[in-house]
């Protein structure tokens, strides 16, 4: 079997791993921070939610490639049992072991070649609380490092598990979820000696905390409040509207080692929508910019202190938040950028030094909540709605992009990302300020999802220049795919779609080379890893996600009868 670049990279990686192991005196499978920092040197592993701090969701493995992908077959399947809202997580792979989390923060360690269970862990959750939560009980992934796996829970805890045995090393209650209603659904991020995790927020009366926790002891080291956490941001919430809260950072961001900075996207303010209209700076539910919601924030990983930020949507009146955790590192023309998609359907291109906006481009066609966003990040022609009906707001609340990630392939230099086309009619309503514990969704509108002008709601995969946004090729889908994407050095882009098909496209021209149906919708992650000299592709299935559960009403067809609250992990490889 010929492994070409993979073999060379693996050999080089072994040397480097050995050097790091000696330098840090740690066990090879402890997953040191150095190993995560240089994830590209271990192409057989998948060590962070985003596949590495570069945020590429890209695998350097090339055994499965454009010439043989047509032979791809299921190697094994793992069925996680109680799977309310499906499996939405991003698996991790370390030294031939595959780890993933399911609903209720259940965690599995599986033999990467056979799927045999090494251990499984099921936390005991506050089931009464879970029953009262809306965005629950899915889990979107874990972090690994320092010999542990780290997983958040919807009842407000962060748990460390010994990655060899699944035994809890510590279990820290970070949020009073009985009071704040929400907890953790997103994956943590392991940075140096800390585990960083952001809470849900958005529609609930909390202050959207992001935490830094000591990885060894589980002790909370710092807490950053995304809602009015300092004097400056407090001034941006008129009439003490910070009490209705929102914010949070429910997807993992990334870490820039060159500046020692954690980048994180934050969620929207509450309530969703606002009746302030054009007078939003002085009137309505939450007068002002509402910092640091719908923003990209840069934090010191040791202290949680804010270094710099950019608020993508001042006074977000549309639920188009910045919580998408994707920060795609691109070095081009002597400049260092992060590309970050906003739920409103725009991609923001940032200077990694200071979050200065270098460009903004559209990822979706149907956008009218603003006329445009200038290349410097300035919003033009905001559509701020007063109380009453408003027709044809685009995109719909589901977003021009969803929370799952695209992928960047350094070989093609293209960024592959799903765009969503749908709109909605709504009626903005004044609501009573919600500040009490155990509140349900705080939404100042009723709405219905509708087709965009002149066409049907749909989605599209676009291959773009990541900095300019110029499209190289596009593949249309009858419904927006909602899962993350994967590109590989085999010249492939994998797209798990909403009907259950896993597609493989040629990354150069978008030609479909292979597809197989996983028997259920896709709403989560996909990775590639290796065991020995064999490459695998692992994808999670099941749902519904919060967006996908509207597909039956919007699209009909298979979504009317497709099974819900089930899911699995499906692993593909080439035949022997």
């Amino acid at each position: 079997m010929r492994l070409s670049r993979m073999t060379l990279l693996a050999t080089a990686s072994l040397v480097i791993i050995a050097m790091v192991a000696v330098a840090t005196s740690s066990r090879a499978d402890d997953v040191s921070f150095d190993k995560i920092l240089h994830a590209e040197k271990n192409p057989g592993d998948w060590l962070t939610y985003h596949g590495g701090f570069n945020g590429w969701h890209h695998s350097q493995l090339d055994q499965i490639n454009t010439k043989n992908v047509g032979q791809l077959k299921v190697a094994w399947i793992h069925q996680p049992g109680r799977t309310t809202r499906g499996v939405q997580s991003m698996p991790l792979a370390v030294d031939g072991v595959l780890y993933y989390s399911g609903s209720y923060s259940k965690v599995y360690a599986l033999d990467g070649a056979t799927g045999e269970v090494k251990w499984a862990y099921t936390p005991e959750l506050d089931e009464d609380l879970v029953a009262r939560q809306t965005h629950s009980p899915y889990n979107r992934g874990m972090a690994v490092g320092g010999g542990n796996l780290y997983v958040g829970t919807v009842d407000g805890r962060l748990i460390a598990l010994d990655m060899k045995t699944g035994t809890p090393a510590w279990d820290t209650k970070l949020i009073d979820s009985q009071k704040l209603t929400v907890g953790f659904t997103g994956a943590p991020l392991f940075v140096k000696d800390k585990v960083i995790i952001g809470s849900q927020g958005g529609e609930w009366p909390g202050r959207g905390p992001i935490f830094g926790v000591d990885a060894k002891t589980g002790k909370k080291v710092w807490e950053f409040l995304t809602v009015a956490g300092d004097d400056e941001s407090m001034k941006t919430w008129g009439n003490e509207s910070w009490r209705t809260g929102g914010g949070g950072g429910w997807m993992p961001g990334t870490y820039d080692a060159e500046t020692d900075t954690v980048w994180w996207g934050t969620a929207n303010p509450a309530p969703l929508y606002d009746w302030g209209g054009a007078d939003w700076k002085t009137k309505g539910a939450r007068p002002g910019d509402n910092l640091y919601t719908s923003s990209v924030i840069a934090l010191n990983p040791d202290t949680g202190k804010l270094k710099f930020f950019h608020q993508e949507l001042p006074h977000d009146a549309w639920d188009f938040d910045s919580a998408v955790g994707e920060f795609v590192a691109i070095d081009q023309g002597g400049k260092k950028y992060y590309v970050h998609p906003n739920k409103g359907g725009f991609a923001f291109v940032y200077d990694r030094a200071d979050a200065k906006v270098e460009n903004v481009y559209k990822l979706a066609d149907n956008i009218n909540f603003v006329q445009d966003i200038k290349p410097n990040g300035e919003l033009v022609g905001r559509r701020d709605m007063a109380e009453g009906p408003a027709k044809g707001l685009c995109p719909a609340i589901n977003g021009g992009v969803s929370w799952n990630s695209g992928t960047y392939d350094p070989a093609t230099g293209l960024y592959y990302k799903i765009g969503n086309e749908w709109c909605m009619d709504l009626t903005v309503q004044k609501t009573t300020p919600v500040t009490e514990p155990q509140a349900q969704l705080n939404i100042a509108a009723q709405f219905k999802i509708v087709d965009p002008p002149g066409g049907k709601a749909h989605g599209h995969l676009d291959a773009r220049d990541p900095i300019t946004g110029k499209i190289a090729w596009t593949v249309d889908f009858p419904e927006p795919p909602l899962a993350s994407l994967l590109s590989t050095a085999g010249g492939l882009v994998f797209v798990p779609d909403a009907r259950g098909w896993l597609h493989a496209y040629d990354d150069k021209d978008g030609k479909e080379l292979w597809k197989a149906n996983d028997g259920n919708q896709h709403n989560g992650g996909i990775i590639s890893y290796a065991v020995g000299e064999k490459q695998y592709v692992a994808v999670v299935t099941g749902g519904p996600s919060l967006v996908g559960e509207g597909y039956a009403a919007l699209f009909g067809g298979p979504y009317k009868t497709m099974e819900k609250n089930t899911g699995s992990l499906v692993v593909y490889t080439l035949p022997q």
């Binding site: 809202r85 029953a131 009262r132 919600v434 155990q438 969704l441 219905k448 609250n565």
Partner: protein
């Protein structure tokens, strides 16, 4: 004993037993009459029910349409109070008996857009 207390106790008992349990309603079906649809509409809005029941319950979205529902009041009350895992949160901790009746009255009052 108030319905919500019965609900909470039985829900806790069901969870303790590790099984799903619905509220066995102590009230007759007509006991859900007498709600105020206007107050029910406010409760519906303030609790984000329209997130799933689009168009103020007129059409299906993430959840089913509620207008012209054929469900019994006992079913509606049970679903509102207990929720459904993966589909709908339980509102048993948020609503008292009168508020529950108000929401049910609102559901029955929903008419096509422009006719209310």
């Amino acid at each position: 004993m108030q319905l919500r207390l019965v609900a909470a106790a039985l829900l806790a008992a069901g969870l303790y037993a590790g099984i799903s349990i619905l509220i066995p309603l102590s009230r007759a079906d007509d006991a859900y009459s007498g709600g105020d649809p206007k107050r029910g509409e406010e409760i519906f809005s303030n609790n984000g029910c329209g997130w799933c029941h689009e168009g103020m319950g007129r059409q299906a979205g993430r959840g089913p349409a509620l207008m012209d529902t054929k469900r019994t009041d006992i079913f509606l009350a049970t679903r509102i109070m207990n929720g459904k895992a993966g589909s709908m949160p339980a509102f048993g901790g948020n609503l008292d008996d009168q508020q529950l009746n108000d929401v049910i009255a609102f559901i029955h009052s929903i008419k096509p857009e422009g006719t209310q």
